[in-house]
């Protein structure tokens, strides 16, 4: 005991305590955001920037046109460095007001995405992590150009001050915007392993094109190869609306923040003003249920009362479920167009499930199935996972959708075999996708989500089953006819051989014609 005590005292004396900035935290823990090795890092960087660009276009209803270019960065003496690349992305999105540009790209956890609506990014982290990663691996700066479509284009040259989580502006220029260009360009250098990341990157772009059929994405890789994903439609999903937090999804901190901001002087107004789908009546009933005086000033709530409100919010059954206006699912038509474009299947069917909610967060599941064409066949179906229009490529085995496919044992009933060229598409849209990690790669098992995915899979499988039955019939009829085509002429020949005198072989075409007619009638 004595020894251990003195040891503890000694070590506490020597220990230095310090606070670290968010930038510093993510610098130290970059693996949790998907930047753990050169292959993964280059994929993650490219992906974060593409997603930011898509969001920037989509929130304003602009069909995205994105140009991506990855090139070798020549070293200081002009020689080619094997592992250092220059990544440049240009979009035609809304553009960023000049006063926000430095923070938007140089301050971690700064952004426009801390609201309750469906967007791809959620943490205000990804794009900056990419820049941060570039900075620490190549010691270079990021160049940002952005314009709102007015007369000026603003150009910034900046780096992230990691210890203070602040942008450090090294240069700023204002350019003339002759062509009224609107959008953003980001360019920076980073280390990576493109040859190894290439398959994932191409797969990512292909799947992105699948769920964003209205987007045009062009990618030029370091060897100068051009990959172009054309848009097939100009129709875009309704942009999501911002919504208030739903009581089911609130915690103590959320309530505290709202109290700090509110101008309401009593709890009745407070409840009906700041929460999603809570009106006067519901507010009153809830406050009675939680034994909170409805005339009480929210500022006067005690800590215990706040905790009680949060607890009662979770147990109260009278709240209306969150509505889905804050969501922007693709819709069956667009998803189908995307899948047709990338896989050209013989059969595709998409189903959008009714909105539902988990822990106060609304969600919509879109489930699709494709068969044949360029649909890859492997031993256990191909699974395309999407969340808020982002393809999820890593950790498929841990994902709830893969588990559902694996657990489903009655494929035989659907005339489906796992080794057929069949792909399932699971798109989860939510204000808060229940990712298991910051890396946004796989979705946790939430019972509400699981139920919708499972029902969706069953439903689209039934459609596929119907299609397959029909296919099998057509195939059968074709094979049948082929058998008759093979054998009837032989029967004619042999029966002629059997005759006592030589005769001409009779024509079997009238018989074949009658078969064809009856098959056509059946079909």
């Amino acid at each position: 005991m004595a020894i251990s005590k003195s040891y503890t005292e000694k070590s506490s004396e020597n220990e230095t305590f310090m606070a670290i900035s968010p930038a510093d935290f993510f610098y130290r823990n970059r693996d949790i955001a998907g930047f753990n090795n050169p292959t993964r890092a280059i994929y993650s960087a490219l992906r974060e920037l593409v997603e930011n660009s898509l969001d920037a276009c989509e929130l304003y209803g602009i069909p995205p046109k994105i140009l991506l270019r990855l090139s070798f960065r020549p070293g200081e003496n002009g020689e080619m460095m094997g592992s250092t690349y220059l990544l440049k992305i240009m979009d035609n999105g809304s553009g960023i007001p000049q006063e926000y540009i430095p923070s938007a790209f140089g301050q971690i956890l700064f952004g426009s995405k801390y609201k309750l609506r469906q967007v791809r990014g959620t943490f205000g982290l990804g794009g900056k992590m990419a820049i941060l990663y570039g900075q620490i691996t190549t010691n270079s700066t990021a160049r940002i150009l952005s314009s709102l479509g007015k007369r000026e284009i603003y150009e910034f040259n900046l780096r992230i001050d990691i210890q203070n989580n602040k942008p450090e502006i090294l240069g700023r220029r204002v350019l003339e915007n002759k062509n009224h260009w609107r959008g953003t360009i980001v360019e920076f250098a980073l280390d990576g392993d493109y040859p190894r990341a290439m398959p994932k990157i191409l797969e990512y772009l292909k799947q992105t094109a699948m769920v964003n059929p209205y987007a045009e994405i062009t990618f030029i890789d370091p060897k100068g190869r051009l990959y172009r994903f054309e848009s097939v439609t100009l129709k875009m999903p309704e942009p999501p609306k911002e919504v208030l937090p739903h009581p089911y999804g609130c915690d103590v901190e959320t309530i505290r923040r709202i109290i700090n901001l509110t101008t309401c002087h009593n709890m009745l107004r407070f409840m009906s003003t700041h929460f999603h789908r809570v009106g006067k009546k519901t507010s009153k009933r809830f406050l009675d249920y939680a034994s909170i005086d409805s005339t009480l000033n929210p500022q006067k709530l005690s800590s215990d009362e706040i905790v009680r409100i949060v607890q009662k919010m979770k147990s109260y059954t009278g709240f209306l479920p969150p509505d889905a206006s804050c969501l922007s699912p693709l819709g069956t038509e667009l998803l189908e167009a995307g899948i047709m474009k990338e896989l050209e299947p013989e059969f595709v069917y998409i189903e959008q499930r009714n909105p539902s909610a988990y822990s106060g967060f609304p969600f919509i599941i879109e489930v699709g199935v494709a068969y044949g064409g360029n649909t890859p066949s492997n031993s256990n179906f191909t699974l395309y996972r999407f969340a808020n229009k982002i393809p999820l490529l890593y950790d498929e085995a841990s994902d709830v959708s893969r588990r559902i496919l694996n657990e489903k044992k009655d494929w035989k009933r659907y005339k489906i075999r796992p080794d057929m060229p069949i792909a399932f598409f699971i798109h989860v849209c939510s204000t808060k996708v229940p990712y298991k990690t910051v890396g946004k790669e796989y979705i946790a098992d939430r019972p509400e989500l699981e139920k919708e995915i499972r029902n969706g899979v069953n439903s689209v499988s039934r459609r596929l089953s119907r299609f397959l039955s029909k296919q099998i019939n057509i195939e059968h009829e074709r094979r049948r006819l082929n058998l008759f085509k093979l054998y009837l002429p032989k029967i004619a020949q042999f029966s002629t051989d059997l005759l006592p005198r030589k005769r001409k072989v009779p024509d079997v075409n009238p018989l074949l014609d009658s078969l064809r007619r009856s098959y056509e009638e059946n079909a």
Partner: protein
Amino acid sequence: MPRKQSIKTRKQQTVKTLEALGTKIYSEIVHKQFPSIDIPSRSTSNIHYEEASRHYVIGDKSVNRSSRNIRHIRPFTQLVWTASFAHTLCKSKKTSTLRDVFYSAQAFDIHFKDQKESDHIITDLEAALDLSREDFNVFPEERSQIFGDLTIEYTVPGYQGKQVNLTMHPDGLAIGPALTTAELIKTKANKVIVIEKGAMFTRLIEEQAYRKFKAILVHTAGQPPRATRRLVRRLNTELNLPVYVFCDADPWGMAIAITIICGSANAAHLKDLATPEAKWMGLYSSDIPKYKLPSNKLSNIDIKRLQDMMKDPRCKEKPWRPQIEHFLKQKRKCELEAFSRYGLDYVVTTYLPEKLM
């Protein structure tokens, strides 16, 4: 001599029947109809044991094999091909074997999965035309032999009119296509002894038993092929010779005797195969203790077979039933060769004289 014409007229009849089938199919196609053939059903429900005639007969039910039916088209084509092949064989007076048919089909791009399938189609054709495959000049691989004082006259090309006495060769003569299609001319024998085992057949020749008993000897080599069964019947009906069947004392030997005497369910669609007048003369189960023959224990399979035979309608009466029961009680079996224990001539000097009395 009317008897001498039996083979020749039968052949002519066969050709006509085959041609009639061809004409029917041909004219159906010409009239834009899908040709079809009625075949007597060979399912167990359509095969009955006829007590009066003491053999299996086929019932009235028939199946229609139609070229309109996807499941029938292939066997139908095979059937018509087999008919045309048989027609060619008969016209050119050539013979063929079951195996040969299986391979010949490939030259016409008619595929049989295996010989079993082609054998089956031949059986269909037999049933459909009420003829046997020997009529079509299709024979199984011959392994049976015959020996004895019987003069035959060949009808096969090259030997037409040639007469042969079957004592000519001491190993016996194979019962092949030529012998099967030969006319039976004359004999000095007064009985036929049918033997399961080659060793016993040879023994009886060597001991000159055929002379002593005035017998024609037939070696079945296990279950007798149909040609052998038909020949035995012809010896019985055409030459009025009594027939005795001599097999091992076990269920399999008994089955050989039963097949010769009562016919088999497999060939119920064919007449003229069974010889109901033939007599089973041994070995009986009861002969084992009676002659103190060396014996072996019955195997489980033997016992199973005997139990099945208890249910067989052919075995309801004497001599079968008491012997089956005796077997099951005694649980011993014995082969014809067991007589060797008493010396090489014991069968001829003791057993057969007693049995043939």
